[in-house]
Symmetry: D2
Subunit: 345 residues, 4 copies
């Protein structure tokens, strides 16, 4: 017997990617999809790529909540709380793709997003859905805050170093580069083809909203408050995030020792791949898959450790992780519908 899943915001890139994954999920039936902009149209009218594969008519969010056991919401921030509340009341699993339930501190949310937590008890029920770090809690969660794309690549890349206290967190600098699907389907001059193509630049320098989420996770891992410099850049590619992370080593370490440590930490994690010595992590190794590839490097001249971490921002950084979370919370095999071999070209 399959469960019924629905996607609110199914015409956004992340929502659409969830649809795509669930079409290949043997335990799930997509019972409803919704969209604010295209209600009443078939999903395949909006995306001809889906012709014959998902011709269901787009409804409104209420219909999704009503018809489904699992609800994914991919919405602008500030809009998920009500839906989460409705799902909670009806005993449904709610997986939020946005930022509304990621931050434990309402003060942080206010500062970086400008909103408030109307139902604080609801926020306390939310579980941060990074399976490699919080799997146990996800198993019994009914309200899951799916992590941001940058924070996912960063937390997986730094967790073993911070847990083992091998770097000085105060020296952490994170230079991240993202493919453009991260900016979504909405049009903007920055993502207009001729202006992004053949170009490259940083944006929201040291001011990106993922900063408090990154720091929250890194602080939990290291057991002390961590403040980082985080600078994202926009890449002229569709998919992928590559985060290059720098920190002072607490003691001398060679890349081989680091690799061994990471292998051990992630030995039971299917979706984390530690690369063998010398091969740098690359977006090309993970696009269209749910893997996070990590490579470890040292700069003995300066005593720094350098970690490169690559994910597909739409999969491990969004829809793939959401399905992984659903699998865990529903008791399915964690990799169901996620056994995606990355095409090498």
């Amino acid at each position: 017997m399959t469960i019924k899943a629905g996607i609110i915001g199914a015409t956004g890139y992340a929502g659409l990617e969830i649809v795509r994954l669930l079409l290949g999920h043997p335990e799930v039936e997509i019972a409803a999809v919704s969209s604010v902009s295209f209600t009443g149209k078939a999903l395949s009218e909006v995306y001809p790529a889906m012709t014959g594969l998902m011709d269901k008519t787009l409804e409104d969010d209420k219909a999704v909540v009503e018809k489904c056991d699992v609800v994914f919401a991919s919405l602008p921030h500030g809009l998920s709380e009500q839906i989460a509340s409705a799902c909670h009341g009806a005993g449904k699993l709610f997986i939020d793709m946005g930022a509304d339930f990621r931050l434990e501190s309402e003060a942080d949310y206010k500062q970086w997003y400008g909103g408030e937590y109307a139902d604080k008890a609801l926020h306390e029920r939310a579980v941060y859905g990074l399976p490699e770090l919080c799997r146990e809690k996800i198993k019994s969660a009914r309200l899951i805050a799916n992590p941001g794309c940058y924070p996912t690549s960063i937390a997986l890349g730094l967790a073993p170093l911070l847990r083992e206290k091998l770097i000085d967190p105060a020296t952490l600098i994170i230079d991240a580069k993202s493919g453009v699907t991260g900016a979504g389907r909405g049009l903007s001059q920055n993502t207009h083809f001729p202006e992004l193509n053949e170009s490259f630049a940083p944006y929201k320098i040291a001011q990106h909203r993922h900063t408090p989420e990154i720091e929250q996770t890194l602080s939990h891992i290291s057991g002390q408050p961590v403040t980082v410099t985080f600078v994202p850049h926009l890449l002229p590619v569709n998919r992928g995030i590559l985060s290059t992370m720098y920190a002072k080593a607490v003691k001398g370490l060679d890349a081989g020792e680091l690799e061994a440590l990471y292998r051990q930490c992630y030995q039971n994690e299917k979706f984390v791949r530690v690369l063998p010595g010398g091969v740098p992590a690359s977006i090309g190794q993970v696009r269209y898959s749910n893997y996070c590839n990590i490579s470890l490097h040292t700069d003995p001249r300066t005593g720094r450790v350098i970690v490169a971490s690559a994910i597909d921002n739409m999969l491990k950084g969004a829809a793939g992780q959401a399905v992984q979370n659903m699998n865990i919370a529903c008791g399915f095999a964690e990799d169901t519908a996620l056994n995606l071999t990355p095409p090498a070209v």
Copy 2:
């Protein structure tokens, strides 16, 4: 019980794509992979994207033939005959990704490829593996010539028109555009990033080796000899072929009538999608999937019909079609391992 499959030339792009598909095939176990350039290395050493997914050591072609029930060969032309012969002798299914068994006429092969057919009887056993046109023969085939990428997109795009004799074949002009993976893994100035990126040009104008294969298929469909003008172009994208095809209509036809005809012709063909009126076929609708998308258009001012046909050159144009052929010849469900929803972005 699974069958054992092997890939000769597994480090080429088409070979690698077969590996990728077969990793998701529940009835198949990859028993051996070979490579001339990388024998002795693990496949994942050559392609880090495969780390943990296909770490098998690359052997030589003999090992593949010996260990496998189904042998795929992705080789430069002229090298498949011997392997086909060995497979035939041992009763194995052989699927050739190259051109060696595609042309019925040895004269054509000589003219366009410069070689000869050493074992003519073997060539007569070969079945042309375009399932939508030759499914019955494929069912009992043991030697399958997997079609070229351009010919696949063209034959599917023109078959209904030619079969119904709605266009004058003497007026056929085919302007095709291919992504660069079609040129393979081998390095060349034309596919060096800075020289292809932001550029676009035709190549082998009216001289491409796929011409006789295209004409052979179109002649069979129309029941008369067809000669076409075929001009391929190289696109700065990784995957996909879009063929734009022009011909004089024999009688007045509107796009709606054409669409209805095509829908009827392809109503049982899962991998052919006829687009609804007005939506042009696009590479973006089919990449990373086994679909062929077709759109029908007319130019009433000149009395011409225009067909646009899009495929992923690596899947329906190569590896996907090869697996589809294997599925048919082995009695598996034809879409096994091929239920790939194209990502819209």
Copy 3:
């Protein structure tokens, strides 16, 4: 003494490109620039690439007409007539980048653009600004209709064949591919980076508005009415148009003879380059320059001639040709500010 030039619509891509060219023109001073969307801002605020090079404040179109001797207008169709009229009254040279004055037949304009000619006398004064075909008239013109990008590449590519009556115009098929700057600065889903990148498709199949302009020019050249099938495609590159053109040869011709004919026709034309045997025209050979590269090919099997013609859509297809027209009409050396060597990478 320099002349004063102004650009109406200077924040569009074509307008901006005129600014860029005129900054390098020794006989011209940019006296005013205008924009509807950004009046009051500095041009360099809108385009940081212009910082320090063009910081002039954007005014309205009246200011441009008032302050300048030469007025370039890059506007949506239907808006140029009034400005042309004002320039005419004040004795100023007006160069229209849009379609308002390109079509001699008002009926064609009505059919394809949906508007009317309010001041028919003004339209009769307009000169079609394709220097290689109409240079004499341009010399004394005061109202110049700058050709469309597709028509420029097509007319230059076909002129010698049509003039010498070497092809049957009734068989002409034009398959053209354009970079995305041709679609302008305005945002649309089609030109949103993730949807165009790694994709490719035709658009406005046999319905593009450049069709009557193409036919008008080809009819003039060949001395008889010419109707063509014209299908444009959108390329995931910033700049360039490659038109591939097909027609039946009236008599047998080899590529060498064609090349010789074209060389002779264009021997005095600096901006047309006929490529030596075998080298196909390519966007990469002409981008960021005012050249049109042409290659000649034959398909002896079908008796067809194939011409490939490449330009930079923003230069020879728009701003470069506009400056070339200004140079001619003002008596400057025709190549002033246009000696742009295309970067090979």
Copy 4:
């Protein structure tokens, strides 16, 4: 009267770019070009983009030295010394595009490049050609070491901060991203279109050969030994470098103060543009021009300063700077042939 210039290695990307610039230089005649791989061919045979613009036959390096007053050499490291020596003996100006004369310390050269200085006196005559930092010495130089692309973007981006001792050099981290022309015309798997396109990765992590050159320049500026962590990445774009640089501020500084400082430092430098508050430096702002765009940012939460610096790697990072150096050493206006307005798209 013009001077005669020659380019050794004219078929490499940097050499070709010098040719392109010198074709627009009113004081220079290109008297000879050479190539090891294509001797005897016309340059335009190798690069059809140059047809009619540079059809000169490629000779050998001796011919270039013999015929020219100024010799540019764009060669693999280790090959320039002999040519420099010949030029020195003949009293010619030699501008080396490679690394052979950039490092003052032979020990550094040995460690990072593996070679030795055969003629130490010659090396002492070499002047490092970064005009904004070393203009006076360049004026009388006869042997100029043209800087590397990364070091140029980095030195210009950090000079004011280091000179004013506003950052702690020990905390400097440089995360740089380069377009692929920096890797040259030679073929490699990394720069094969399908493997670089839609991908992104770091390379030579903390081991790139530009590191000692960067440190040499930064040490000179700051008056103390500087050691940095430098990690380059390969971007899927043709041109441009964007360096993002991080350091601890010595005292509290806001972005406005930094901007004012940089404006003052570079007020007389035509080719350095300090961006107004909030606008990040971008490759799109400088490609196809000789400008270096710099933006200043702070991270008050961590006390760090962040500088983004963008150049076109082929122009300010190679050929443009080489011509700028020639202009200075020959007494021409420094911007001759370099007044290139970057196209905004």
